[in-house]
């Protein structure tokens, strides 16, 4: 038994990108492996759930959980890890805010199942069978996790101690965060482990952004030949940089694409989408309703754009559930 701090990794409703991000630490992963003892990592190692259940409460130093909570199994696992861990770290946008799976909160389970298992063009399911939680056949029993109507971020299920943001977090963000946690000099509980300032501060194009920017049309990236030197918002693209925490090195901007908001808002904001809406509408170059509507019509999908990663974590959490007649 080593005395290295024990860490666990788990994935909920996620794409696997956060797991890749850990692997992307490349050489640095050896430093991580040297500094900690990994006791649970379904994607990469063979530990079982029962191994975790057998641990003492608080035996795990830190559990790095990525993905949103979407099924009963995920809820059970995160509760289990919470009980067994001193610190729970929400890893990546899905755990932090709900992430892209969170956009499923525009629908409910019924609608999703009907679309996936009945209505989609290549599905052949004449008996309209949906997945159910228990199936018995010939004395055998199979259980599937329950599928919630509402996707939740990790902190909506268990108490979260720290957040490593991003979709997926960058290698240096991860290694800095892990180093902080291992240093013993722990920041206050609830801290997001990147600077608490919006992306524009570190953006290489900030000098090209006009001081009195006004917008008379919004563009989507495929509609313009994007100038590689000029601020993207100034070119009419919906760059969420002003409303998004920095610390990512502005990699998307360096790739000539607008920020989509994956690091979430600063700590002084309750709803990232709402704040971004406030900021860009303030810049719209119109004072009468008709022109305002015309300009805003060039934003095709406000929810998808402003809450790409953060719908569950927003103030309203989801589209209203269908109201029974």
């Amino acid at each position: 038994m080593s005395d290295k701090p024990k860490v666990a990794f788990y994935w909920c409703a996620s794409c696997g990108g956060c797991e890749e991000a850990v692997v992307d630490l490349a050489e640095k992963i050896l430093d991580v492996a040297a500094a900690v003892e990994i006791v649970f990592w379904p994607v990469a190692m063979d530990f079982k759930r029962a191994d975790v259940e057998a641990m003492e409460d608080g035996e795990i130093f830190a559990a790095f959980i990525n993905g949103a909570v979407r099924t009963t199994e995920q809820e059970e696992m995160v509760r289990l890890l919470r009980a067994k861990s001193q610190a729970v770290v929400a890893f990546g946008s899905c755990a932090h805010l709900g992430g892209i799976p969170g956009l499923a909160n525009l629908w409910d389970r019924e609608t999703i199942f009907r679309t996936v298992y009945e209505d989609s063009p290549t599905t052949d399911n004449p008996d309209r069978i949906h997945p159910l939680q228990r199936y018995r056949d010939n004395g055998h029993e199979v259980e599937l996790p329950g599928f919630f109507d509402t996707v939740r971020s990790l902190d909506q299920v268990v108490e979260v101690d720290y957040v490593i943001p991003g979709c997926a977090p960058m290698p240096d963000v991860i290694s800095n965060a892990v180093a902080t946690l291992l240093s013993g000099d722990l920041p206050p509980a609830g801290t997001v482990l990147t600077p608490d300032v919006a992306l524009c501060e570190g953006c290489p194009r900030i000098d090209s952004k006009p001081e009195h920017l006004t917008i008379s049309e919004f563009k989507r990236p495929h509609e313009v030949l994007v100038d590689e030197e000029v601020c993207l918002l100034a070119q009419g693209l919906l760059c969420l940089g002003p409303a998004t925490r920095g610390g990512c090195g502005a990699v998307c901007i360096e790739g000539n694409m607008p920020c989509t908001g994956c690091f979430g808002p600063t700590s002084h904001v309750r709803d990232q989408g709402g704040k971004y809406l406030a900021a860009i509408t303030s810049l719209v170059d119109a004072d009468d309703p008709e022109t305002i509507e015309r300009i805003l019509a060039s934003i095709p999908d406000p929810v998808g754009t402003f809450y790409r990663y953060g719908l569950p974590g927003s103030l309203l959490h989801r589209k209203r559930m269908p109201v029974d007649a």
């Binding site: 009963t72 525009l106 159910l132 939680q133 228990r134 199936y135 018995r136 056949d137 010939n138 259980e143 329950g146 919630f148 109507d149 509402t150 904001v269 309750r270 709803d271 989408g273 709402g274 704040k275 809406l277 406030a278 509408t281 303030s282 719209v284 119109a286 004072d287 009468d288 309703p289 305002i292 509507e293 805003l296 934003i299 999908d301 406000p302 929810v303 402003f306 927003s314 103030l315 309203l316 959490h317 989801r318 589209k319 209203r320 559930m321 109201v323």
Partner: protein, 159 residues
């Protein structure tokens, strides 16, 4: 209890809860004037005073809805008359996109209302209040709370 009754409303006892953000220089004074004139209107709204309709952060509207408001009313000065020259234009621009985004999230348009009410327009204030309460009463509660979910009874099929 409402001060006006519209014929044909569902009488199920639902009283809309409305949060109103009124600008200090126009709409708040109009509400004061309605008071000094002893006008009567539905008591469903709760007024929160801000200096300008431009102070109204979309987050306030969303927090109000999340906390259980059935409707939100924003009152500001007429275009061109803003005490701070242009705050109401920013409010107008935000309102347009916010209302569209909220309808995408299932909040009916009629629940979020922006009205230009000058300090002299106490009667407009009264009418807006009564109208909004009636409209939202007809729409029913906003029901924006996220239901708790549990799977006590597992869905199952036996072959």
């Amino acid at each position: 209890m409402s001060e006006t009754h519209d014929a044909g409303q569902q009488v199920d006892g639902f009283e809309p809860r409305i949060v109103a953000f009124f600008c200090n220089w126009c709409t708040y004074l109009a509400a004061d004037l309605a008071g000094t004139s002893r006008m009567k209107y539905a008591p469903n709204a709760r007024v929160i005073r801000v200096m300008c309709s431009g102070r109204v952060d979309p987050q306030f509207v969303m927090e109000a809805l999340a906390q259980g408001a059935d409707g939100v009313l924003i009152g500001g000065c007429h275009p061109g008359d803003c005490h701070y020259q242009s705050g109401n234009y920013k409010a107008l621009r935000r309102y347009h996109l916010l209302r569209r985004m909220l309808t995408d999230l299932g909040v009916e348009e009629k629940r979020i209302r922006l009205e230009w009410i000058s300090a002299a327009e106490a009667d407009k204030l009264r009418d807006v209040m009564n109208e909004m309460v009636a409209e939202i009463r007809a729409l029913g509660p906003a029901h924006l709370e996220v239901p708790d979910e549990s799977f006590e009874e597992l869905e199952e099929v036996t072959v």
